[in-house]
């Protein structure tokens, strides 16, 4: 399936209470259909997830991974990925930043999920605030319509994707993003200027489920790049890399169309907010404060 329209699909749930209820029916249908519905490539023949003893504390990662696998059993248009980041739990370790760099083989100058830090208060009443900033996968993404070659678009599941094979690298989308979430790949290597280019730098990145081998000229060099909720991992029934590595267990992920999912639960907390709400971009990344 190839999606070329630049609008997000009408199935996008609004983040009102009503939206949640509406999507509940969709989910019920999705679950029922799991067995019969055409499963995604990664879902086929997948081993069951480990089972945790019932009496211990909940393993949030496994629960969310289950949520992901359930969602992947549905047709793409019925999933609506979202992320929530609990700022009270975020310890500002930047493990997510680096896990993402490693997972996606990001070159120098490209970053998908920096963690922004600020000091608050005055001595001796001081604290520090940490705000991880992935791509918001805006429901109303300003980065999309500006692209002159339709190289970036919202998928039916809400992920705003960049087609590395189509992007001409004009960087208009970069200026259009109000979150600074897009960065340009200038084709560099971390070991530039050292005695040796290391093997890990030319290994393929598996973004969007395809091997992108790096030589500094070929795409995604020369392209705009950004977080894609690790679609390639979702396809394999895995959680995004920043979620699994999150040292504070501060990052939640799942299908907003699934009322059973942990993300659905998180999005209903009273302390939820979104960044630059006033711009009307409708981010699919929430923050708990």
């Amino acid at each position: 399936m190839k999606v070329s329209d630049t609008e997000s699909s009408p199935a996008v749930p609004s983040l009102s209470r009503r939206g949640f209820l509406q999507s509940a029916t969709a989910i019920a249908a999705g679950i029922a259909a799991t067995a019969a519905a055409p499963t995604s490539a990664g879902a086929a023949g997948r081993a069951a997830l480990p089972t945790m003893p019932a009496d211990g504390p909940q393993n949030l990662l496994l629960r969310m991974q289950g949520d992901v696998q359930r969602a992947m059993g549905k047709p793409i248009a019925e999933r609506r990925w979202a992320m929530a980041i609990d700022l009270r739990k975020c310890i500002g370790c930047s493990a997510c930043t680096i896990a993402c760099v490693a997972e996606n083989k990001l070159p120098p100058g490209v970053v998908y999920r920096p963690v922004i830090e600020e000091e608050v208060g005055e001595y001796p009443h001081v604290s520090r605030k940490f705000i991880p900033r992935p791509c918001m996968q805006c429901e109303n993404p300003p980065c999309v319509p500006v692209c002159p070659v339709k190289a970036t678009y919202a998928r039916p599941d809400g992920i705003v994707e960049i087609d590395y094979k189509a992007c001409i690298g004009c960087r208009y989308c970069i200026t259009a993003c109000p979150y600074g979430a897009r960065t340009a790949d200038f084709g560099e290597f971390y070991t530039d200027g050292t005695p040796k280019r290391e093997a890990y730098e030319t290994q393929p990145s598996h973004e969007y489920g395809q091997p992108w081998t790096r030589d500094g000229k070929r795409s995604p060099a020369g392209n705009a790049r950004k977080c894609h909720f690790c679609v390639h991992r979702l396809e394999a029934g895995m959680l995004p890399a920043c979620v699994t590595t999150c040292v504070g267990y501060a990052t939640f992920f799942g299908d907003m169309n699934d009322p059973e999912s942990l993300i659905h639960e998180m999005a209903g907390k009273p302390n939820i907010m979104r960044l630059k709400e006033e711009l009307g971009t409708k981010p699919r990344v929430f923050y708990l404060t």
Binding site: K2, L61, A102, Q210, G237
Partner: protein
């Protein structure tokens, strides 16, 4: 302004020397790993599978970027590490971790958490500056001119010695003694006899003349025949290390002690958190029978420490500890703390001069005055004792029986009566001293079956005003005592331990203690109230900020005593200790058989049993474990350099002591995975000795790159990084599960492959030591290294035995299940990229034994052995217990003297002012205008040396800063971003002098913040490198350009205070051995 001047493709040809022939060797055709990855098509339909999700591309091992030793899940593509994630089987990396029995097929897609350094470890291994061949010095020490030489040449030269540096100007005629010369005594029997008689001489039980006569033939093998207790010349071989874990630990001791016969094998404990360990040791000493001395004494104290159980505590008070940035560690602790704090299950408070990231999550941040931690603990103790908010029931238990009756796994000696000798608390009162009988006991020797009679003189408590004698370990006769006792028994003035503590605590008011700590009395009270409001689920968790002061031992003692007041040891949510599965083997069990007979079950491979081993003797170069007074070197007080009777692994003493030839000169120094020059406070003092070929004739380093210390070596052997090698990583005190993470090779080795004992293996610590052992013919190595017909000719011979021990377990019922056929297949397939030199299933199987082999596979498939989550607790108690006496009063310590002052150490926690010099005199550099206190700390994304090579992490923090409070900056007219220089009384030039004609000013960027106590400035660890690929080196005549990115930032260790008495080493804690990081006053000026 931005400028991009780096050359994209500067492939400097450095021969096969740097960065590895590696890549080619370690890559297998991509086909295997990218099965089905066809040409790309539409973007929404991924092409083929995601290779990193397949179990065949996953290997479990252990991180070592920092010392937390997390479990890792290494994903491999085409033989290259593609990604590292957390091991979901490891309790470090998933909360709760998945059940151990989960088949690896089910965990392939399950990733555990990992800190940023863990992810970036890829760049430590794949580092363009890594060494792949042996380097030999071609210029002066430290000049950084090298030639690469063959492994065999290096081994031969080091073993045999000779005119090794005749090409270096000034060293044309310098003959270097080889290791064969230093291995003076080779006969274990001779060694034993000498050891016994030397001890007699030291204890004045044998006249020196008699010794000399008796051992005339051996005198030339002694370092100093008039001081036989210094030991044989073998001791002039010194092996020092930084980070060392199981497996390699066994190897190094086997080589140094059993093989070379040297007593000088020393680690880095004191630079790390020394006094935590040695207070732990002193508090865990037990009064039991000693096999060697054949009598009862305080012994078996273990070098360990306690931390809080963050999985279950309700309140944690972190003092000088930052589990969200450093500590053990950013993964297992931080994940639990962050989650539980936000969920309202845990409340934390942080006592730290700096608003750490841990403080960012705290209910209360107390910016204490550095060094005031002990005073604060006493303030809290005073309030708690006064308000009687302590656990009286716990403290009253004098022995095991009483503790047991209360359901307490531990007990302490708060009630035991201590004699007041000359006004000072001294030894415990004994039954015989008040006319009660001693017990006559016998001890049966396990091996010989021989029975030895000995006496036990019971201890005494006061119970309801009457003395009661007791055995601390008696379960049959529970004894409780009165808590606060001051009295005379048989005219002997005595006090209970708690009374002595109370006198310490009540010497000052809460306000006075608060003033000493530079904090508010109200904070002390509030924290004390909170601390005593959660039963046993509160804990004061301390770390380097408490221990690395000149009064470190007593500060740690005070905080551990505070924990004793609520009796939280071994309780869920209280004080915990590490529990590890034994890999070294040797555990035995009597197993009753069906017919009622007993058979002995034993772990299969006791690897530390070494036939023909030497048992070294003599005072060590760092003078540890011996009392100054009990040696022939005793010459009144102060000693020339301090002695450390209660501590070991005194890192800061190794090289400076060699420099001073006290207690004796050394001839050869091996340095493994440690960088004292960089890591030690005032580490620059080591350079002076390292560059002096007279005082230190031979220096051999084992390193992965040319580091800040290895640059001064004569030879550098490349090593394998953690992704290429074996180790048994152990655990940390806050880990409540019993574990043993196993580090194993997950990629092909990057250094060259060589032949030792006829076997192929990569250049590494192992091949270096095996190669030397082969040349020297050391016992414990070679075809019969593990006993007749059992070779130790390949690293695997040791490590697979150790894995087999783990797989067999510690009990007859402890064996692991066998790997299934599918797991066996994956085991082999996932190692398809490993060369035979490191992975040979036949060799492995043969070493492990056919019956254990499937269990070994099971274990290696999971990266170690980990107890399941449910096994962490035992009801409200910890499952893995300390379970014995905790010394609130340390008799052994009270009976030990400070070698510099001649005064006895205090047996109870006490407040000592800091900073103090080696003579205990207060230092007051502030008066000389050094108006700021300099401290240091960890950033989550960096560690000492390795992360300087991690470009991903450098992007997070390319340059560290000197943190300063806004008020201090304003007062000095300094602005954020200014470049500033740091000066101290012992470094008035504010510079590192590398003694190679180069120097570097101690300059860094100023960061003006609110989150630091005014009057204190701080820099983080891990930046400001000048070696480790940051500077230029010449190899085989070619210059290898350094990478400026690796050298950015400030490393102010050279500004840290040199002890004014000892003069060539840092300030130290003479009781606990800590090297001192936080007691230096500095001046800061615009650079």
């Amino acid at each position: 302004m931005t400028e991009h001047t780096e050359n994209r493709r500067t492939f400097i040809k450095t021969g096969a020397l740097l960065g590895g022939s590696a890549a080619a060797a370690s890559q297998v055709p991509g086909l295997l790993t990218r099965l089905g990855a066809a040409e790309a098509g539409g973007y929404l339909s991924p092409q083929g599978d995601y290779p990193l999700a397949r179990p065949e591309n996953v290997l479990y091992s252990v991180c070592q970027q920092c010392n937390t030793q997390c479990g890792i899940k290494v994903k491999i593509e085409d033989g290259v590490v593609a990604k590292i994630d957390g091991n979901p089987y490891s309790p470090w990396n998933m909360m709760p971790h998945v059940p151990y029995r989960t088949p690896i097929m089910q965990t392939a897609t399950v990733d555990g958490l990992l800190c940023p350094k863990g992810h970036a470890a890829i760049q430590t291994t794949y580092d363009p500056y890594r060494l792949v061949r042996v380097l030999k010095r071609a210029g002066k020490r430290g000049e950084n001119k090298w030639v690469s030489i063959a492994f065999d040449q290096a081994v031969t030269e080091i073993a045999e010695g000779g005119l090794l540096f005749k090409n270096v100007p000034g060293e044309e005629s310098r003959v270097v003694e080889g290791l064969k010369d230093l291995r003076a005594i080779r006969d274990p029997k001779v060694m034993k006899e000498l050891a016994g008689d030397a001890k007699k001489v030291a204890h004045k039980e044998m006249p020196l003349a008699e010794f000399r006569q008796k051992h005339a033939a051996q005198l030339r093998h002694l370092i100093d025949s008039s001081h036989p207790d210094m030991g044989p010349r073998n001791n002039q071989f010194v092996f020092m290390w930084g980070r060392l874990k199981g497996g390699r630990g066994e190897l190094i001791r086997r080589f140094t002690e059993a093989g070379m016969g040297s007593t000088n094998a020393h680690g880095h404990t004191t630079v790390c958190q020394g006094s935590l360990y040695f207070t732990g040791k002193a508090m865990s000493e037990q009064f039991v029978y000693d096999d060697k001395d054949k009598k009862m004494k305080w012994t078996k104290g273990s070098k360990f420490y306690w931390q809080g159980d963050q999985q279950s505590a309700e309140f944690m008070l972190f003092v000088g500890a930052s589990p969200l940035e450093g500590n053990y560690g950013p993964t297992n602790r931080a994940s639990r703390i962050a989650r539980r704090v936000a969920d309202g299950d845990l409340r934390i408070a942080v006592v730290d001069p700096r608003a750490s990231k841990t403080a960012a999550k705290a209910w209360k941040w107390v910016p204490i005055k550095p060094g005031g931690e002990g005073a604060m603990a006493f303030g809290m103790m005073r309030w708690i004792l006064e308000q009687q908010r302590y656990d009286a029931r716990y403290l009253a238990n004098a022995n095991k029986g009483a503790a047991k009756a209360d359901g307490e796994p531990t007990w302490c000696n708060a009630t035991w009566l201590v004699k007041i000798e000359k006004g000072q608390p001294g030894a415990f009162l004994r039954a015989s001293e008040i006319g009660l009988p001693k017990e006559q006991r016998t001890q049966r020797d396990k091996k010989t079956g021989e029975e030895t009679a000995y006496e036990f003189d019971p201890f005494v408590v006061m119970k309801d005003g009457r003395p009661v004698a007791f055995d601390p370990y008696s379960e049959k006769t529970p004894v409780e005592g009165d808590l606060l006792v001051t009295t005379e028994v048989n005219k002997v003035p005595v006090k209970s331990g708690l009374q002595i503590l109370w006198e310490q605590a009540s010497a000052k008011s809460v306000e006075e203690w608060a003033a000493l700590a530079g904090i508010k009395a109200a904070d002390i009270v509030e924290l004390a109230r909170e601390f005593t409001s959660h039963g046993k689920r509160a804990v004061a968790d301390i770390h380097r900020g408490v221990s690395q002061h000149t009064n470190g031992f007593y500060q740690v003692f005070a905080w551990y005593t505070l924990n004793l007041l609520i009796g939280n040891y071994d309780w869920k949510g209280g004080m915990a200790k590490a529990a590890t599965y034994d890999a070294a083997g040797g555990k035995t069990e009597k197993v009753k058989q069906a017919d009622g007979t007993e058979v002995e079950w034993a772990q299969p491979y006791p690897v530390n049993k070494i036939e023909g081993r030497l048992d070294p003797f003599g005072v060590s170069v760092i003078r540890h474990g011996d009392k100054y007074e009990d040696t022939t070197l005793f010459a009144g007080y102060p000693a020339k350099r301090p002695w450390f009777p209660l501590a070991s692994d005194i890192y800061q003493e190794i090289i400076p002591s060699i420099g001073d030839a006290y207690p004796y000169p050394a001839k050869a120094l091996f340095i493994y995975m440690g960088s004292p020059v960089y890591a030690l406070p005032a580490g620059h003092t080591n350079i002076e000795v390292l560059t002096d070929v007279k005082r230190l004739p031979l220096v051999v380093a084992n390193d992965i790159v040319i580091g800040e210390t290895s640059m001064y070596a004569d030879y550098i052997f490349p090593d394998l990084t953690n992704l290429e090698r074996w180790e048994f990583a152990g655990s940390h005190p806050n880990m409540v599960w019993k574990v043993q993470p196993v580090r194993q090779p997950v990629i092909a080795p990057i250094p060259e492959t060589v032949k030792v004992f006829g076997q192929e293996m990569p250049i590494s610590l192992e091949s270096m030591l095996l190669g030397l052992a082969e040349k020297l013919g050391l016992p414990g190595f070679g075809p019969n290294g593990f006993g007749a017909g059992k070779p130790y000719t390949h690293p695997d011979h040791l490590y697979l035995r150790m894995v087999a021990n783990l797989a067999a377990g510690e009990k007859s019922t402890g064996a692991l299940p066998d790997a299934s056929a599918e797991e066996m297949r994956i085991f082999l397939e996932s190692r398809r990229h490993l060369p035979k030199a490191v992975f040979d299933p036949e060799r492995w199987k043969q070493v492990a034994g056919a019956s254990l082999w499937p269990k070994v596979v099971y274990l290696l498939n999971r990266g170690g052995r980990f107890d399941d989550f449910a096994k962490g607790y035992d009801g409200d108690l910890l499952k893995n217990k300390y379970g014995t006496l905790v010394n609130l009063y340390q008799e052994k310590t009270a009976k030990t003297k400070n070698s510099m002052t001649g005064k006895p150490f205090s047996g109870v926690a006490t407040h000592l002012p800091s900073p103090a010099d080696a003579l205990g005199r207060s230092l007051d550099d502030e008066r000389a205008g050094f108006d700021l206190r300099l401290i240091t700390y960890r950033e989550i994304m960096h560690t000492k040396s390795r992360t300087a090579a991690n470009y991903w992490l450098l992007a997070l923090l390319p340059e560290n800063s000197l943190l300063m409070n806004r008020k201090d900056a304003d007062r000095r007219g300094l602005k954020d971003g200014d470049r500033v220089r740091v000066f101290s009384a012992s470094n008035p030039d504010g510079a590192w002098d590398f003694k190679n004609g180069k120097s570097r000013p101690i300059v860094g960027r100023l960061k003006v913040v609110q989150g630091i106590r005014p009057g204190v400035v701080a820099y983080s660890l891990g930046h400001g490198h000048w070696a480790y690929g940051a500077g230029d080196v010449v190899i085989d005549g070619q210059t290898v350009k350094g990478d400026a990115r690796r050298g950015a930032g400030i490393h102010a260790n050279a500004a840290l205070r040199v002890d004014p008495v000892i003069k060539n080493t840092t300030l130290s804690d003479l009781t606990g051995g800590s090297a001192v990081f936080y007691d230096t006053q500095v001046k800061v000026a615009r650079a």
